[in-house]
Symmetry: C2
Subunit: 342 residues, 2 copies
């Protein structure tokens, strides 16, 4: 293990950034000056940022550092795709405590750089500093889009279809599984042997989420221009409420249409939890939620990996989940409750 002090500030930054490869023409100058220089020509520039703190957003006891770096990058890409754009650059700021070695930082960086390679994104800057306490990761992502292609949250119209990619609730059930295994490890429950067989999917959804670049590509390919779009980071309920409020509309989503993976169902049963609640409020799935005109119905139905879960209504009709028996349940915004939690 290499103590960070052996490299010093500038040595450390050089060490971590020397492996960076640049993929994009829009990156004129990356790491190494007061600011990065980008050239977006006639495209519009998209900017999003996320702050991840140890103990709040991740627990190093069960999250490998490489996965953490990968996820920290990918969740930012996801926000850019949710605008119907393409992520192009990120800046990476790390606050690290004295228990970290150079090898630990290399692990985090290797995850970030792997994500960048997979999605064609350049690391163009950042800041690395000591932290008196836990690990801090702050990533800002810059992306591009043609002006007329950008999809905001406020364009949903009455009768529009509500669509969701992939499945929901798996990341949350993966987290529950990890939390349980942590308790086992700490000896706080009976001695259940950790066994992840048959649970690989939900674990992967929590530890190594992917952003739906493929869905954005398919939408373009099929000529579907969504009327509104978001990525599902806080849970379907919460995101739908954002879209409805900003678009001044109501919505109906159908319980039996919500896409749920069989491993998430099994995990919920094992833990005696309600999987629909997890799918609605669990968060961290990083799937795309979008609305589109009913004229696009045939195209959407033909899209692999996308399901229609409901439709947009007049604002007066409110925002509801329609249960299997036809009962209407009002959607509530849970958000993540990190601010109240610990």
């Amino acid at each position: 293990m290499t103590e960070i002090s052996t490299l010093g500030e500038f040595g450390l930054i050089h060490h971590l950034t020397e492996k960076i490869k640049l993929f994009n023409k829009s990156t004129v100058k990356g790491v190494g000056d007061d600011a990065a220089v980008l050239n977006y020509k006639d495209k519009q520039v998209l900017v999003t940022t996320d702050l991840m703190l140890e103990g709040i957003h991740f627990d190093l006891m069960y999250v490998p550092l490489k996965h953490l770096g990968y996820k920290a990058a990918v969740i930012n890409f996801s926000d850019i795709y949710a605008m119907n754009g393409q992520p192009k650059q990120i800046t990476v700021s790390l606050g690290i405590s004295s228990r970290f070695t150079v090898e630990h930082l290399e692990e985090i960086y290797s995850g970030i750089l792997l994500a960048c390679e997979n999605y064609g994104v350049d690391v163009v800057g950042g800041d690395t500093t000591a932290s008196l306490t836990g690990l801090t990761i702050s990533i800002t992502c810059i992306g591009e889009a043609e002006k007329e292609k950008i999809v905001y949250r406020n364009g949903a119209k009455e009768n529009d279809l509500i669509c969701v990619s992939g499945d929901l609730g798996s990341a949350y059930m993966g987290l529950q599984l990890l939390e349980r295994e942590k308790l086992v490890f700490e000896g706080q429950t009976e001695n259940v042997q950790p066994d992840f067989t048959g649970k690989e999917y939900i674990l992967g959804r929590q530890l190594k989420p992917e952003a739906r670049k493929d869905i954005i590509a398919k939408l373009a390919e099929k000529g579907i221009q969504p009327t509104s779009m978001m990525d599902i980071s806080d849970g379907l309920s919460s995101e739908l409420i954002h879209i409805c409020k900003q678009s001044n509309v109501g919505c109906r989503v159908y319980e039996d249409k919500i896409p749920i993976h069989i491993q998430a169902v099994a995990m919920a049963e094992e833990l005696n939890m309600n999987i629909v609640t997890a799918a609605l409020n669990g968060g961290e799935d990083y799937e795309l939620l979008f609305t589109c005109s009913i004229d696009d119905y045939e195209k959407v139905v033909a899209m692999e990996g996308v399901g229609i879960v409901g439709h947009i209504t007049k604002p007066g009709l409110g925002m509801h989940l329609v249960g299997r028996e036809g009962e209407e349940i009002r959607l509530r915004a849970q958000g993540w409750n990190s601010l109240d939690a610990p």
Copy 2:
């Protein structure tokens, strides 16, 4: 005092961002979607980021929250000016511990928004989250510049003049003063009454630095295109070494040319410190260091608030400070030592 939990995540974000005014045409869409949307047309885009952590970069015992917000924003603007650009947008991410109230956050935000108003910059996004430990502030700044006007660190040429704006070492001496008063307050020294009379300048330099927008404007006005430029955040020595290494040149700076404020001199005497060392290695002055052609000599001499401190040499001659007796002392990169410190 208002508990943050009374507003909830979305309420808090709304509360903090509703007062944001937008100044720039390039801001198409600010806070409120997955990403901000910017339009830079034919300009190049500059991106810089800074991470500030409690206990490392600031001590809430003597730094008022409003000043902290102001400084966190301004030090990012400074990086954009150091590229000869104009800052236009920032994203603001805050990690806050449970001891913070809504009023505390309003204080931080009011400082950030004041800085934005003074410099004509828009807050376009961010992230607010709980922190298990101290306060975390991560700001990313986006700015613009014409391609041919951007000044990098690698363009210094032999015989170029080395110029510095304002004065150096004051921010560091202000920090020493605050540290001393903190010890007094904690009863760790004899009972010296805190007295800031005659020390207002160095205190202001530490607590409420400004970025040299005015110098950038004057350079343009006078038609001076620097060959290299940086802002002085880590100390003159360290920044000169960056410029020399990236430009593959050497330098000579003259001790008697280094601009030092009389209050900084007095404070150094009082504390038995070497003010030249403070000016060379102290950091946080956020002045501009630039090199320009000797052909610009007359123009630079006529610039108020800028001094010529030395000149660029062949790389073989190394990087040296020339003392008052003509002795040559090799410049060393101290950087900040936060990574080793605590």
